[in-house]
């Protein structure tokens, strides 16, 4: 007979260690999949996890991909910690990019130091406004934020589609679905000549520091923590529940908006249909793999960014479709949830033999 019991006290150290177990299991699982597909698993895994970062360019690409993931996941951690399930970060990213990109397009033929800060600010505000929609609907109309935030993703993506083929399309662009190139003053400064890594990474690092401070050192952070553990207690303590929901969604949306604007002013340089390879969804995995802890999220964003790079390398060298990246991301989440289950519950196999012996 199998019996499942809740563990009373889960050691903190183990709680932060299980993500590593999940990663190891993901790599093993990946090896098995490659083997079944007829590849040498060791070689394939090498192409996946080592080759992409074996040179400086690869490493900078890793940071480039980790930047938006980290930013979004930091924002999401505010929502998730307080029991608000914002899964529409992809939409907030897109809307932030639209608003930020719109401002950049206004200045397409101008130069000036003030332009980039304006563009970035517009992106953050755009994300914030878009995240406020599910938040307001949740607080005042009792809707489910999971559904609303998810469905709004498609709204913003279709809006972007419309803009880049319609009103905002490049008049000299031969009807390609894209806008003009932004002016240099709207672009994130590059950190190194020849590498794509840009100043957006500092935004992500600042978000990490700031979120750590807010979550662990302020009254807002305390309220978020209590609400996440027990909404009943938050109500009893008299926390302003509605305000808090609005605030966490705004923080989350602003971070996603920043990530979006970082992409279009960084490596992309214009608006087109594919500004994000689902960073907003993948960041949900990053947030949980990083245990909703700001520093854990840095680590997790690097790991998950590697699955993006590995998928591209594997496509080039092994002709495996790059969607295997999503398989790896899915496996990480799966193994994380599975090891969490074993962390919080213990499975007892009761042998009937022992009882029989007594008689």
């Amino acid at each position: 007979m199998i019996k499942i019991e809740k563990r009373n006290d889960v050691p903190m150290a183990l709680y932060f260690f299980t993500p590593f177990i999940a990663i190891i299991l993901t790599i093993l699982g990946g090896g098995i999949i490659f083997y079944i597909l007829g590849f040498n698993p060791i070689e394939a895994l090498k192409f996946y996890f080592i080759t992409p970062i074996s040179n400086l360019y690869g490493f900078s690409e890793l940071l480039l991909k980790a930047t938006p993931l980290c930013l979004i996941a930091i924002g999401l951690s505010f929502c998730f910690k307080s029991n608000n399930w914002n899964i529409g970060a992809e939409g907030q990213l897109t809307f932030g990019a639209i608003v930020g990109g719109g401002v950049a397009l206004i200045f397409y033929n101008q130069e000036g130091f003030y332009i980039l800060p304006l563009v970035i600010l517009a992106g953050a505000i755009g994300g914030m406004i878009f995240a406020l929609i599910p938040a307001i609907l949740k607080t005042y109309f009792n809707t489910n934020e999971i559904l609303v935030s998810l469905m709004l993703v498609y709204v913003s993506k279709l809006l972007l589609d419309y803009l880049v083929v319609g009103p905002w399309s490049n008049p000299e662009g031969f009807n390609f679905p894209e806008t003009r190139q932004f002016s240099d003053s709207s672009r994130m400064p590059l950190l190194f000549e020849g590498l794509r890594i840009h100043a957006g990474i500092f935004l992500a690092l600042a978000a990490v520091m700031l979120s750590w401070f807010i979550l662990y050192k302020t009254y807002l952070g305390f309220q978020i923590k209590v609400s996440g553990l027990s909404l009943k207690t938050a109500k009893y303590a008299g926390f302003k529940g509605k305000t808090m929901i609005l605030v966490v969604f705004m923080i989350s949306g602003a971070c996603a908006g920043l990530a979006g604007v970082g992409e279009i002013t960084g490596p992309i340089g214009q608006l087109h249909r594919m500004i994000s390879p689902d960073y907003g969804f993948t960041a949900i995995i990053v947030a949980f793999l990083g245990r909703l802890n700001p520093f854990g999220i840095i680590f997790a964003s690097l790991v998950v960014a590697l699955t993006y790079l590995g998928a591209e390398t594997a496509q080039i060298f092994l002709q495996i479709p790059k969607y295997t990246g999503q398989v790896f991301q899915g496996m990480i989440l799966f193994f994380l949830l599975a090891s969490d289950y074993l962390l919080f519950f213990k499975v007892k196999i009761l042998s009937l033999k022992k009882n029989d012996l007594r008689h």
Partner: protein
């Protein structure tokens, strides 16, 4: 045929706690046995072993000298051991008969005949075709008992059966139990209520810290002797307090409190009006589920009701949230101490910070002042004799009594003018109950007022100056506690009326 149940050298060890330490007991049919003990004394573990839910590490159970193998609840059923738990195992939306037929082995027609025989024999009046959710707690319990009787049990174990019953229902239950006993069913009655032991049972076994400390005839015992055995020390008896609240100023007044909810699991409140004087304790009695939850939440500000007037210290506070009400020196101790009054995963000092009143400066300019919160927490731990001085301890490691002391300490350290508490001693052991009762009396003596919402009649009679009963969301007239007897309360709690 006579039944003889023998428990021999049963031990059960949980990590960090010996639940049963070499327990041996003998029961014979024709008598009602009480198993008495505080919470955590090991009663429940022993019962779980007898009903097959838990296997003992050591020891054996004999029924009529046959060694029983009880590795699942099914084994207990097969061996004709019946069990009525404190929390009912019934499907609320199914009818009484459907509930009974779920684990029956016969066809519905013959089952109905047998059930009707039982109803007639024991004079139970229950409509078999109404959904269980329409039944009172007493009737639900009867359904559970019928379920056991259908299997013609040799042993019937009742776990804290009266905690949800009115006085009348309790009397009816006792009459039925005595009948069962006369018919040769061996009855084991588990409780921590001393008076019930004396009025119902023939023999009493007292457990303390996993061990049986005494087995005796109830006729040789009194409330005090049993209490002392249970606690293991002489209890200082709390004096019933003197009514000190005559000719004092009115401090709190509720007018036209109405609450309507669409949720069928909530109780509507109908036009409650009451007021409270300085230094007074107003008791609100009632069986749980008659609107106490909703009343507490409205008084604390968790639910804001329109058109209600709540005047506290001459100010209208009906629209304020709990935090704002605290600033006017109100304090709240909810019933659910484990998941509402405190968060088990949080450390003690973080739980203390939940009562973030303005002058505490716990959060200056939006920042956490950890040092201040910890100092304050240390003071609470020592002032309210919580048995730890480690403010970093997660509160899930505190026992119920210590957690309640911490919560009460947190609420009282602001010296509030009014404390509203709901079942403050629910599930606690005698020592902790005494401490909390003393504390509540002390604050009344300091001219502070309390509203005590409680399902424990004894507690209400001991602490209140005036008592009202809440029944189906309506409040009875408020009576001076000298005029109230447990019987009167029982009538009102069951929906009856007195003149």
């Amino acid at each position: 045929m006579a039944t003889d149940l023998r428990i021999s050298n049963i031990s059960k060890i949980y990590p960090g706690c010996i639940a049963n330490d070499n327990v041996s007991l003998q029961f014979k049919s024709g008598k009602i046995y009480a198993l008495l003990g505080e919470n955590g004394a090991g009663k429940s573990t022993l019962v779980k072993i007898l009903s097959g839910v838990v296997s003992p590490d050591n020891g054996e159970v004999f029924l009529n000298e046959k060694n029983l193998k009880l590795s699942s609840p099914l084994d207990a059923k097969k061996n004709k051991i019946g069990m009525v738990f404190q929390h009912f195992n019934l499907f609320e939306t199914l009818s009484v008969f459907e509930n009974l037929s779920i684990d029956a082995t016969e066809d519905n027609e013959s089952l109905r005949v047998r059930v009707n025989e039982i109803l007639k024999k024991y004079n139970f009046s229950i409509d078999l075709d109404v959904p269980v959710l329409n039944l009172s707690a007493g009737q639900k319990q009867k359904v559970e008992i019928i379920r056991c009787l259908l299997r013609s049990p040799k042993v019937l174990i009742m776990d804290e059966p009266t905690s949800v019953l009115t006085e009348q229902e309790t009397e009816e239950l006792f009459i039925s139990l005595k009948k069962f006993c006369d018919e040769g069913i061996l009855i084991i009655y588990i409780t921590h209520k001393l008076k019930e032991v004396l009025s119902l049972c023939d023999e009493v076994a007292v457990m303390r810290k996993g061990k049986v400390v005494s087995v005796s005839q109830t006729q040789n015992e009194r409330v005090e002797t049993l209490a002392n055995k249970m606690v293991g020390q002489k209890l200082a008896k709390i004096k019933k307090k003197i009514n000190i609240s005559k000719n004092k100023d009115e401090i709190f007044k509720v007018k036209h409190l109405n609450f309507y909810s669409d949720d069928p699991f909530e109780t509507n409140l109908v036009n409650l009006n009451f007021s409270l004087k300085k230094g007074e304790c107003l008791g609100i009695a009632g069986i749980s589920g008659n609107g106490q939850n909703e009343l507490f939440q409205i008084l604390s500000g968790e639910i804001i009701t329109p058109n209600t007037s709540i005047i506290f210290r001459n100010k209208e506070i009906a629209k304020l949230n709990p935090k704002q009400r605290r600033e006017y020196l109100m304090a709240f101790s909810p019933e659910d101490r484990i998941s509402q009054a405190a968060v088990p995963e949080l450390k003690i000092y973080e739980n203390v910070a939940l009562n973030n009143f303005k002058s505490s400066n716990f959060f200056e300019k939006g920042l956490v002042n950890e040092k201040k919160i910890k100092e304050h927490s240390k003071k609470i731990l020592s002032d309210f004799s919580v048995n730890t001085d480690n403010v970093e301890l997660k509160s899930q490691f505190l026992s119920g009594g210590n957690l309640q002391k911490l919560i009460l300490g947190r609420e009282l350290i602001t010296a509030p003018e009014l404390l509203i508490c709901y079942n403050p001693t629910w599930g606690l052991d005698v020592g902790a109950i005494n401490y909390i009762h003393e504390t509540l009396i002390k604050i009344n003596n300091q001219e502070k007022s309390t509203i005590l919402i409680s399902t424990d009649t004894e507690e209400l009679l001991k602490l209140s100056d005036r008592i009202a009963v809440i029944y189906k969301g309506k409040l009875s007239k408020i009576m001076p506690s000298e005029e109230v007897t447990p019987e009167k309360l029982g009538v009102l709690m069951g929906g009856g009326s007195i003149d």
